[in-house]
């Protein structure tokens, strides 16, 4: 037994030890927390890399007005970055790609003339050829595939697969099929490799191609990325298909920006890109100015070829290029213009929406004449926005535009639809029909056909619409009639056989709808309708097959099979006989509905997709 004094002394010693231990623990924890906080601050606290840059050093540059405008528009978009990204730690969990060359398919030793050119795409403007996934000659069908390359990743972690260059990439190939009724088959396939330093992106689904009039060359247009800079380009390949069994591709030509649309006229390709400037580096001209040329030899568009509008709301360009057999013939860029571009026989109309005075949304429509180069041919301003390229049309010296009129709550106005008619040469307003649709409705689809304009307006959530017919034969006295409120709405409208108008759209949130409209003296009436549960309906109008001569409509989608109670991708061919719409052919397919294309020739129906090819005798 210890005395009280000894116990007291023991307690004092223990208290001292405990205080020391506590101080050490608190010090250690504080230090560790401090170090951890500092590390987290260094690693994760974002810092801005955007903001208004100092432009003083660029004031002597001929591009200074463009630089100034871009800096003004992009400085609001302050970009936050952290060292977690900068030091590449995030990349440990992500992927980067480089070009993988795909070997060409073996050639087949057969030769046969291609025959004459046969257009298979339903064109908006007669004589102005549009790009598509497929084109055909008399004897051959050309189809552009885009598929993920299959690579064996067995036993590989993502990191090791990346290190060994085994990560799947997107591959592009041009297939040639014979057009020989039931004996039709795949003849050969050419893999198109991305150029050195470039890679095809997931948006390569937006690829298109053209076949020359003599059927000797195919022009392929495909979006891609430059791996070193991440900048987007549109690659243009020219493929010699004079002998479909030994096809060969030239090195691709590049143009800055996202691919928007293209047309082929008189053997020259008119290409429209949208080049969005993102985090510009004013020391690297290609990051904020449109460039074109071959890989490693790109040139910047001269300042004189850049149109700077009075109002600019976005740091982007609509880049226009004319490409001939020998490369780029001319190029022009419209600053701050958007993606809606309509191309007529001789002009191109680009739109630029902006918020005007008193907060009203306006759209500037710029006309660019194309022929021997690009010439700005005037501009017009409308109140509202343009839904898509089918909402504009030039005919007989007039530009007709259906526009979504904006809501103006101060005046008690809801969204609506207006029609504007301009004199094409001067771009001066001739007449307009403003806010003619039910309140709150906007344009869902529009189409012009010579002296007629058709538009479907709807409030999508209600799945009801009127379809309007406008008689535009006298642009100063426009008259119209409509269906009244009917169920569903059309996402595409086009003139069809037997004087009808075809609407492709939705009956409700589940049912895909085909509806044919006809006109009486006073109104527009539904002539026939087909509606069925469907999913994954293509959003690209070109994916639908329209044959006015035979009254055929083709559509691929994921349909519900009521017998087996399952959904499966099917291509359905419909026939309109003047009274109703009937399914005349049903093809089960493996490929994506949006990639399916079809045509009818010499009593045989052909359907092609990335994974399917059918030639079905119909004898209509």
């Amino acid at each position: 037994m210890r005395s009280y004094r000894e116990r007291t002394e023991d307690i004092r010693q223990k208290l001292k030890r405990k205080k020391r231990a506590r101080r050490a623990a608190i010090g250690g924890c504080t230090g560790a927390l401090g170090a951890l906080s500092l590390f987290a601050l260094i690693l994760f606290v974002p810092y801005t890399t955007g903001g208004a840059p100092n432009l003083f050093q660029y004031r002597e540059s001929e591009y200074y007005p463009v630089i100034e405008r871009i800096a003004e528009l992009s400085s609001d978009d302050v970009v936050y970055e952290s060292n977690f990204d900068r030091w590449g730690i995030r990349d440990l969990f992500g992927a980067k790609g480089e070009t993988v060359a795909v070997p060409d398919s073996p050639a087949v030793n057969e030769t046969e003339g291609a025959g004459g050119y046969r257009e298979v795409t339903d064109l908006q403007t007669e004589g102005v050829i549009e790009g598509d996934l497929f084109k055909r000659s008399e004897h051959y069908l050309f189809y552009l595939s885009c598929r993920m390359e299959q690579r064996s990743l067995d036993g590989q972690t993502f990191k090791s697969a990346y290190a060994r260059d085994l990560v799947p990439r997107i591959g592009l190939s041009l297939g040639v099929y014979s057009v020989a009724q039931e004996e039709s088959r795949l003849l050969s396939e050419l893999a198109l490799p991305a150029a050195e330093g470039f890679v095809f992106g997931s948006d390569s689904k937006e690829r298109e191609m053209y076949l020359s009039e003599d059927c000797s060359a195919v022009t392929v247009i495909v979006p891609c990325y430059e791996t070193a800079t991440g900048l987007k380009y549109t690659a243009i390949y020219r493929v010699d298909v004079s002998d479909p069994y030994t096809m060969s591709a030239d090195r691709p030509l590049f143009l800055s920006g996202d691919y928007v649309t293209s047309r082929m006229k008189d053997g020259r390709l008119l290409l429209v890109d949208n080049f969005a400037v993102y985090r510009p580096d004013f020391d690297e001209e290609r990051s904020f100015l449109p460039a074109f040329g071959y890989a490693g030899e790109m040139e910047i568009l001269p300042f004189g070829n850049i149109y700077l509008p009075e109002h600019s709301t976005r740091a982007c360009y609509t880049v226009l290029a004319c490409v001939g057999e020998d490369g780029l013939l001319s190029a022009e860029a419209l600053f701050s213009f958007s993606q809606e571009v309509y191309v007529s026989q001789d002009s191109l109309f680009a739109t630029n929406a902006y918020t005007g005075e008193e907060g009203v949304v306006c759209t500037e429509i710029a006309r660019v004449l194309y022929g021997d180069g690009f010439v700005l041919g005037g501009k017009a301003v409308i109140e509202g926005t343009v839904h898509d390229r089918y909402s504009m049309d030039a005919y007989d010296g007039y530009l007709r535009v259906f526009a979504d009129a904006p809501a103006d709550f101060r005046k008690g106005l809801q969204e609506n639809v207006s029609l504007f008619i301009f004199e094409e040469d001067t771009m001066e307003l001739v007449s307009s029909v403003e806010r003619f649709a039910p309140d709150g409705e906007t344009v869902q689809s529009a189409r012009f056909d010579k002296n007629y304009g058709y538009v479907c307006t709807a409030l999508i959530v209600k799945f009801t619409d009127p379809v309007y017919y406008f008689d535009l034969s006298d642009p100063t006295h426009v008259s119209n009639k409509d269906t009244g409120t009917i169920s569903g709405y059309s996402a595409f409208l086009t003139k069809f056989s037997r004087g009808t108008l075809l609407g492709i759209g939705y009956e409700n949130d589940r049912e895909f709808k085909l509806e044919l409209y006809g006109e009486t003296e006073t109104a527009v009436e539904s002539v026939a309708v087909f509606a069925r549960d469907a999913y994954n309906v293509p959003s690209d109008y070109k994916a639908f097959f329209i044959d006015r001569e035979h009254g055929l409509i083709g559509a691929a989608a994921c349909f519900f099979d009521e017998e087996e109670q399952i959904f499966r991708n099917e291509y359905l061919l419909f026939l309109f006989d003047g009274y109703g719409i009937d399914v005349v052919c049903r093809l089960e397919m493996e490929g994506e509905p949006s990639d399916a294309r079809a045509f009818y020739a010499d009593g045989c129906f052909y359907m092609v997709s990335e994974k399917d090819f059918y030639a079905v005798p119909l004898g209509l």
């Binding site: 210890r2 009280y4 307690i11 405990k18 205080k19 506590r22």
Partner: protein, 167 residues
């Protein structure tokens, strides 16, 4: 005595280091004695000292002296159980008791205490030999007041039976 206990603690808290010895003098024997019911004498002394360290390492507020004593006993008991948990065995009660206080006048009672169940023994010891209230005992034993009453009743009955048998 109990008033002095709280006064000593307050004096120590206000900076009088000398009050510590008085505090130890007032409580350490009771704590060691209690701890000896559970562990060996050396560990019991350590457990009692640890209770003082726990008391003095932070400034605590006690409503009255009973709470302060209960705190010291509770910490002592916890430390003893820590020791037991490490050793995984309980020493016989009589053996523990006999070592530090061999000449206690109520030897038979302590032997009988050693023969009853451990939880009865602890409750009886704290309430009847250390003078804690049922509330304080409940805090020390981490039980409800009703459970303490039950333990006391059963402990007393067990003791009565044992002592009668001896007589």
């Amino acid at each position: 005595m109990t008033e002095r206990l709280l006064a000593c603690y307050r004096e120590y808290c206000s900076g009088d280091n000398g009050a510590l010895e008085a505090l130890v003098g007032l409580m350490s024997d009771a704590l060691v004695r209690y701890a000896c019911k559970l562990v060996d004498p050396a560990s019991a002394e350590d457990a009692a000292e640890d209770a003082f360290v726990a008391l003095l390492s932070r400034r605590r507020k006690f409503a009255d002296d009973g709470h302060l004593r209960a705190f010291l006993f509770k910490v002592t008991r916890d430390r003893c159980y820590d020791v037991l948990r490490r050793r995984k065995r309980l020493l016989p009660f009589e053996e523990n008791y006999a070592a530090p206080f061999p000449s206690h006048p109520h030897g038979e009672l302590y032997r009988a205490l050693g023969a009853i169940r451990e939880d009865y023994r602890e409750a009886v010891y704290l309430v009847y030999l250390e003078g804690f209230s049922a509330d304080e005992c409940a805090v020390i034993l981490k039980r409800s007041k009703k459970q303490v009453y039950n333990l006391l009743a059963r402990g007393k009955a067990a003791l009565r039976k044992l002592l009668k048998e001896e007589v």
